[in-house]
Symmetry: C2
Subunit: 340 residues, 2 copies
Amino acid sequence: MTGGPAPALPAAMRVHIQNLPGEALFAVTPVQWRAALDRHGGDHDVSLAEDDAGFSAAIREAQVLVTWTKQVRARLVGADLRAMAPRLRVISCTSAGLDRLAPFDWLPPHVLLLNNRGAHADKAGEFALMGLLMLAAGMPRIAAAQRAKRWEPRFGSVLAGRRLAVVGLGTIGGAAARHARAHGMRVTGIRTRAEPHPDCDEVRATEDLDAVLPEAEFLALCCPLTEATRGLIDRRRLSLLARGAKVLNMSRGAVWDQDAACDLLDAGHLDGCVTDVAVPEPLPPGHRLWRTPGMTVVPHVSSDDPATYNDRTLDILLANLDAIAAGRPAPNRVDPARGY
Amino acid sequence: MTGGPAPALPAAMRVHIQNLPGEALFAVTPVQWRAALDRHGGDHDVSLAEDDAGFSAAIREAQVLVTWTKQVRARLVGADLRAMAPRLRVISCTSAGLDRLAPFDWLPPHVLLLNNRGAHADKAGEFALMGLLMLAAGMPRIAAAQRAKRWEPRFGSVLAGRRLAVVGLGTIGGAAARHARAHGMRVTGIRTRAEPHPDCDEVRATEDLDAVLPEAEFLALCCPLTEATRGLIDRRRLSLLARGAKVLNMSRGAVWDQDAACDLLDAGHLDGCVTDVAVPEPLPPGHRLWRTPGMTVVPHVSSDDPATYNDRTLDILLANLDAIAAGRPAPNRVDPARGY
């Protein structure tokens, strides 16, 4: 938020949920909404739609819009928001990272932007653990051998005692650190300020990154994409990793130099990478990321469990609306200046 | 062992360690031997070799032979053991599964056979957890999409609440069950007798397998290969699994019908498989296992961490020699009748 706390809003709001066409797995249903209200209490009205007509009918009256970042980008960014949605006070995005919406100059100061930080913790934490275990076991190289139909035994290690650096200590980075520590890894967290974190052995500031990288056997990228993190893990910094290092990217493709990662895998400097993100997404068939031995490509699905996602999303939304109604800071507010 | 406890043997034994030529990662070194004696205490003599001359020179005097199952198979099975190794009382194999040495009619009754059960617990447990997480995340299908260079998002689930059946509750199956439970899975163990196990919600006897399989969302095969388990998970039993089921094989390739597994993956009945074992090993380039979508092939490396393997192996050996010297049953003795 830019400046001061948000003005309090009514306890009963008019909420519009705009689902994404063709994404049946993640479409919020009326049953899920009622169940969330039952769990949480509250007296909000809701409308749900997934088409243009439903959006147009609802947006004029909506005080809260819940939707996907790509819907916000398509429908709101560059639009005359005051005319289109005169009562709108809250936009709640169902993603944790809102980098697709930057820069945020399209957002009027009276509209609060919320992200979905927290909905991903369980699934993302397990994916992070899986990624670390796969890297320790050499699975990216083993998968390349399977692509080549070659039986090439190569032995991995356990996680205990290995050094992990985690860039970004939000929900996902924190969960990654917690799982890693539970398996005996020694965890260095890296974030803007070097404040301690309960799941890290130590925390260093981003400006110390060059000193941390040569010591890391595993590097996990879990930060949001912002102007400060775009290109943060560039070719020079990837080269600072020790020979045999392993990299897990659960952040955004633009945070690292994926071409340099491929070069370093080809050179044998990096042992393996698991990336849930790419530039561009979807990755075209001819892209070298698909075929570089040691690079495991996951199609941006690390953090979303359809079985629990909407329930968690609605719980987070309703807790934020409560906070706003009570004049407290909304836990999931996005600071347009920081970008997360 | 067939019949009664072994006769006690001296506290100081003449031990010969026959390493495998060309397996530098797993060759026991004199430094590792001395470190193990330092940790453990004991007054044994040792010789180490990896060639034929070294073997021939040592085997006539050796009371204890430590080596790989494939060395036992090549050098001892079918040989005149009493003539070749007149003082030999203990053969300690560095593998957990000794199915390659069956039937055990080559083994004189005065020679005790030990396996390496326990050396694999940490690494195998982490591999099992990795396999379960990979199956939950849909990684075998995602890897097939990478082979085809296709960006095809498919969402997985967390482990919590999912039902896992573990066949075999030895060191590896027990570790798999423990990790699965730590992540909230509901674990049914299956073993010869339905005795409770601390890491399983319930244990069923092998004869109840047909009733367990339809309820399992995940199936982990962790049993030794014996006459009782060969072909245990045949086409009929694989078909008993519910649609969308996932299978992890850390046992032996001959325990399941791998061709049926491929058919069921092709039909979409099984969602994914991760197998560390195959028939034959090494798997030839033309084999369908390599290319079946949803089948992740790992070249029999799940359970061996070179960084810790020899230390654990020697610790287990020395503990067994102590037990034998004291007239107690050796914890790692193999019963030739059971085959494990």
